[in-house]
């Protein structure tokens, strides 16, 4: 029941959790500003913005490729900090920046390797060698859109689905992680 409402601690005694402790900011390069944006990103995060479907970790911030010249910046929520406003200020003029924290529900399956059930559950080849740590795919399952990434440290898979679909998606995922 938790996927739609405001709730904080949903960690369950299970390897499937809903992540409610992060802010998600979507940035998209302004036309012609890709190179200077990347320079600024390197100065800010210490890493380049991935130009292919990859997720990179930078001091607690996860940068997830989200389409051509677009990224999701995923940061741990901190009291008193407005990550979105900080990023909007930082990238002003080089990127369009919007807060999409509420747009998706992010589920995490903590599996170092995909279970056989997860492996066969999506139109993405989850084989260990085909979908490596740090890989990202934007796709759909059972008509539900999803962005899936494997954490760069290889400890888990995150699934971000549209929030208004998240009950159906959660049902599906609970089945798929078995």
């Amino acid at each position: 029941m938790s996927e739609l409402a405001n709730h904080t601690k949903t960690a369950r005694a299970s390897d499937l959790i809903e992540r409610n402790d992060v802010t998600v900011t979507n940035i998209a390069a302004r036309r012609g500003a890709r190179a200077s944006l990347d320079e600024l990103a390197r100065a800010t995060f210490g890493v380049s913005l991935p130009s292919t479907p990859k997720a990179v970790e930078a001091g607690g911030t996860l940068i997830v490729w989200a389409g051509p010249d677009q990224w999701l910046i995923i940061q741990k929520e901190e009291t008193g900090r407005d990550h979105y406003s900080e990023l909007a200020k930082t990238f002003n003029g080089l990127a369009s920046v919007i807060d999409v924290t509420e747009s998706r529900t992010i589920f995490r399956i903590s599996q170092a390797r995909p279970s056989p059930v997860l492996s066969r559950s999506m139109g993405i080849d989850f084989h260990d060698a085909a979908f490596k740590p740090g890989d990202v795919a934007i796709t759909h399952v059972s008509h539900l859109g999803v962005i899936v990434w494997r954490l760069p440290d290889g400890t888990a898979y995150d699934f971000a689905c549209a929030r208004t679909y998240s009950r159906d998606f959660g049902d599906w995922l609970r089945k798929a992680k078995a």
Partner: protein, 995 residues
């Protein structure tokens, strides 16, 4: 009940597990079998030969084959909700408690009253559907069809809901191997040894193919043992996925294959959480089809009698299942398979009365073997007819000299040669090619990434199959980027496979069946040819040859060879029909997977859905969404009472409606204004920061696509809304405009529909209510925040929010948006703070009533046929710029002043109800199509006016104010006089919006 002994079970052979005895019933009679049996082998072990009645003539039928090509041994499996008709006994894995019934018999299998069909058979010949039941037409539904359905048919489907679950799954591999006979096993093994990811699929529950059915030596070991060693090695590779009980039923583009895995068909009830079947989509870089070849019968008289069996099936029952398919056999062949069969029959202690071969000279070794075992040899001879009715009692043999004699037997093993299984390799359009020396069709041009190996390709010798499989496996792995490891091919012999094509015994006295499942006889083929159906495609459709659930696996080639003989053409010139998926039938349950019942489609829920549910809302499905339609209060017994109360509350005080389902899109970038000017008919670049404007988009053909509002939060930051229904379509359109039409513009587009929970707060007390939740110092006064103003602010003590002063109801109204997870809290807060004003939540019904009262167009008017002008919004279109749809909206057809336009209607007799969809006809005109003037698009009972009102599209609308028309609705017997009125019914001046 006592169980009959397995009288036909052989003591010393078979791959069954005699330590696991299984009990099953057939037509209520209990029998025993063993693990490793099929239903067919277990029935034969118990001496059961008669298993069904045929489709049209209700002829007794037995078991012809040992595989999925079986045309006759179709049974109803299980009972109740799990009853499954037309299940092939030959591939049904025996399990303890299996229940099977014969089908298409009345009242019982042995006494079938409808066998009379056999006597009236002249009426059921080729094309009978087209000829016999043509006249009179009224007889079709009442007499002919029910009669045919009763008399001809197969099993009965379960009537209850299927209690089992079905699953869909994906698999990816470098090399997919379909079939696990000698070629398939070698292909899989060789590819796996290179490190490639390999999937090996076989439709049986055991791997090995013909190596389980024939007595062969591979690499010095017995064939079945060699199979076990290969399977064990395959299991040791982490990259290998073994899929028994799985049928690849279709090849699709780009290396994709459809397969059905029978996960739990071999147990009575699937275990908890286990699906009955799983539908696989397999994506393979390379595929090796090694499905082997299927033996075909020879067409002779009474060749459908129980006891006539394919020679290879006879060997399968003996060697794999340890079953005697008969006591005394006659073997009839046109190829060397006959010789192999007599050897296995003799080995199993079955008496062989005769070997009848159409070829004039047999191998000396065959002849000496026959002499040694007292087997009579007939060279250049045929079995013309089987003797016996419910089972074979003899064979009428016509020798080379034309003399005829009967020989007693209860088994006729027949081989007309082998058809390579070319179906899957030709699914993508490659035509199978006829090879005269093999007397077989072999695969034609193959799709990219596919190879065919072994007897599926027409390579019939065991040694050759092993070698070819190894080569194909290695080639596929190398092409996938792996290093060849050098394939060691185990030693084996090639068996003799000489053949001389022979199809049809013309000296037969009895009905000779070509297609046994559809009861198509040699006479039907001849009749079709005489009547001019001389192409294979016509033959197939006229006679239904090959159109049964077996897809003609044992009949197609015979049928077309017979047609070729009749027309005097070669088989190559006659051609073959195309094979299409599925290779074997696929259950609808597997295709549907989880998408049934409430899982048929995904459901979208708004952030305050749970609150609405608690409140007792009645929900309606709109697209994927579940939306609150109205909120009945205790004591309100009909929806109209509730909706009227909701409307009145909004018009008199304040109401709140969840509009989170609106499509929401952020448009950013320095060219955002310029971009929106090009996609909306009106100007958006001139919109001031902090303001919103209503806008309309057209399709490029000039027809209205969608409407909504655009709000500007900064020079380079717009936020637009779309209708709920068109959110995805509009986004796709905007992306096309951005990427393809004007790629140089600096525009970024973000769909944010799910980010915001959005509520319409409407009514004269709306501002009073919102004043209670906006955080200081935001000034919500009319002067500071007038009609069409927008702002970013915080509410409820620090919650980020956006406020839009927009109205769809005609009242002073706002839309307030908060981050989705705050939606539930905002709704509860508004309801609590609004209590003093008598606030009511309202649903989509009241929303609809109020928009009709205000004459706002919505989905029923934006219906893909209307222009902006038709909708009364023509003046919105800017003449100072181009926009999508502008040029074609100027076409004469779309600017015709007589086009139907949106206008209002009210009943002349105010007590009468209006109906959407009613057509307008002149007051004194007849209700015929020529007098059609347009139609009613939206209607509502207006609580504000106390009568029904409507919007509709009417020709020449402007000049017809006050005219009285008929609103004619023949479907619901509606014929109401209506008056044409302006489309705005409430607050015509729009004064309430701006207070």
């Amino acid at each position: 009940m006592t169980q009959s002994a397995q009288t036909a079970r052989l003591k010393d052979r078979g791959l069954i597990d005699r330590s696991q005895s299984l009990t099953f019933t057939f037509d209520g009679v209990p029998y025993n079998g063993y693990a490793g049996d099929t239903l067919a082998s277990a029935l034969l072990a118990n001496g059961v030969r008669l298993v069904g009645r045929s489709f049209k003539y209700h002829r007794p039928r037995g078991i012809l084959t040992s595989g999925s090509e079986e045309p006759n041994a179709l049974v109803e499996l299980r009972s109740g909700a799990r009853r499954e008709p037309n299940t092939k006994a030959t591939i049904t894995e025996l399990y303890d408690g299996l229940e099977a019934k014969s089908q298409n018999r009345f009242p019982s299998l042995s006494l079938d009253l409808l066998a009379i069909n056999g006597l009236v058979s002249p009426f059921l010949s080729a094309g009978f559907y087209y000829k016999t039941f043509m006249w009179p037409a009224s007889f079709w539904e009442k007499i002919y069809e029910p009669m045919i359905r009763r008399a001809a048919g197969l099993g009965r489907a379960a009537q209850e809901h299927d209690p089992d679950s079905y699953d869909k799954a994906f698999a990816f591999c470098d090399v997919l191997v379909v079939g696990s006979g000698p070629a398939g096993l070698m292909a899989a093994l060789t590819a796996a040894r290179t490190g490639a990811r390999v999937i090996l699929v076989d439709e049986s529950f055991a791997f090995g193919g013909r190596l389980l059915s024939d007595v062969r030596t591979v690499g010095g070991a017995n064939g079945a043992d060699w199979v076990n060693s290969v399977v064990a090695e395959l299991k040791s590779f982490p990259g290998v996925q073994l899929m028994p009980r799985t049928t690849v039923f279709g090849a699709y583009d780009s290396g994709q294959f459809g397969a059905v895995e029978r996960v739990a068909d071999h147990v009575p009830v699937p275990a908890a959480g286990v699906p009955r079947q799983r539908l696989w989509r397999i994506v393979a870089k390379h595929t090796i089809i090694a499905q082997g070849a299927l033996e075909r019968p020879i067409v002779f008289g009474n060749n459908d009698r129980p006891g006539v069996m394919l020679a290879s099936a006879v060997r399968t029952y003996i060697n794999r299942f340890g079953v005697k398919p008969g006591e005394t056999a006659v073997v009839f062949s046109n190829n060397d398979d006959g010789a192999s069969t007599i050897a296995d029959l003799v080995g199993a202690g079955i008496r062989v009365a005769a070997l009848v071969d159409t070829r004039t000279v047999l191998q000396p070794a065959t002849k000496s073997f026959a002499r040694k075992h007292g087997i009579r040899i007939f060279e250049g001879a045929v079995v013309a007819d089987a003797i016996g009715s419910s089972r074979v009692t003899g064979a009428r043999i016509v020798a080379a000299d034309g003399t005829s004699q009967n020989i007693a037997c209860d088994l006729i093993a027949v081989s007309g040669g082998f058809n390579p299984s070319v179906q899957v390799s030709t699914h993508l359009g490659g035509r199978a090619q006829w090879q005269q020396e093999l007397a077989a069709f072999v695969p034609g041009a193959l799709p990219k990434g596919m190879a065919v190996s072994g007897s599926a390709k027409g390579t019939f010798g065991l040694a050759s199959c092993l070698k070819e499989g190894a080569q194909a496996g290695e080639a596929a792995a190398v092409a996938s980027g792996f290093q060849a490891k050098g394939a060691a091919v185990p030693a084996a012999d090639d068996e003799p496979s000489d053949i001389s094509a022979f199809w049809h015994v013309k000296t037969a006295k009895h009905k000779a069946f070509v297609d046994q499942q559809n009861d198509v006889t040699a006479a039907d083929v001849a009749l079709a040819e005489r009547e001019g159906f001389r192409s294979v495609e016509h033959l197939k459709r006229y006679t239904t040859l090959g159109m049964a659930t077996d897809q003609g696996k044992t009949s197609n080639v015979n049928g077309l060879a017979m047609l070729a003989q009749l027309t005097g053409k070669t088989i190559a010139a006659t051609g073959a029909t195309s094979a299409r998926p599925p290779y074997t039938p696929v259950s609808l349950g597997a295709l549907a997977g989880e998408h049934r019942g409430k899982h048929f489609k995904a459901t979208r829920l708004t952030p305050s859905h749970d609150w609405a549910k608690e409140r007792g809302a009645v929900f309606i499905e709109t697209g994927m969404w579940l939306r609150a339609q109205y909120y009945p209060k205790p004591g309100e017994n009909d929806w109209l009472t509730t909706v009227c109360r909701e409307v009145n509350t909004v018009r008199n005080s304040v109401g709140v409606c969840d509009v989170s389902t609106l499509g929401k899109i952020e448009i950013h970038g320095t060219d955002a204004g310029k971009f929106l000017d090009r996609v909306y008919i009106n100007m958006m670049s001139t919109l001031g920061v902090g303001k919103a404007r209503y806008g309309m988009m057209l399709r490029e053909d000039g027809i209205a696509m969608d409407d909504g509002t655009a709000a500007r939060f900064a020079d380079d930051r717009y936020f637009i809304t779309t209708t709920t229904a068109n959110a995805i379509k509009v986004l796709q359109h905007l992306e096309l405009c951005r990427q393809w039409y004007w790629p140089d513009l600096d525009v970024q587009i973000f769909p944010v529909s799910d980010q915001w929970a959005q509520y319409s707060v409407a009514g004269p007390r709306a501002r009073d209510l919102l004043a209670k939740i906006v955080d200081a110092p935001f000034d919500i006064s009319n002067a500071a925040f007038p009609y069409m103003a927008v702002a970013e602010l915080t509410v409820m003590g620090g919650v980020k929010a956006r406020l839009y002063r927009l109205s769809f109801s005609g009242e002073m109204a706002y839309e307030i948006a908060v981050p989705a997870r705050q939606g539930d809290r905002l709704m509860r807060t508004l309801m609590a703070k609004g209590e003093e004003f008598g606030i009511a939540p309202y649903g989509t019904e009241a929303l609809g009533v109020m928009r009709i009262e205000k004459g706002h167009v919505a989905g029923p008017e934006l219906n893909g046929t209307t222009t902006a002008a038709d909708l009364g919004l023509g003046k919105m279109a800017s003449t100072k710029k181009d926009f999508v749809g502008r040029v074609l909206s100027q076409r004469p057809g779309l600017t015709d002043p007589t086009r139907p336009r949106v206008v209002g209607f009210r009943p002349v007799d105010r007590s009468q109800r209006l109906r959407g969809g009613a057509h307008f006809i002149g007051k004194s005109d007849a209700a015929v199509a020529q007098n059609d003037q347009g139609y009613m698009t939206s209607v509502a009972y207006s609580p504000s006016l106390g009568h029904w009102i409507g919007l509709g599209l009417l020709a020449n609308a402007e000049s017809r104010m006050g005219e009285i028309l008929r609103a004619y609705d023949p479907v619901r017997n509606g014929d109401v006089l209506v008056e044409v009125v302006p489309a705005t019914f409430v607050d015509v001046e729009g004064a309430r919006l701006r207070v």
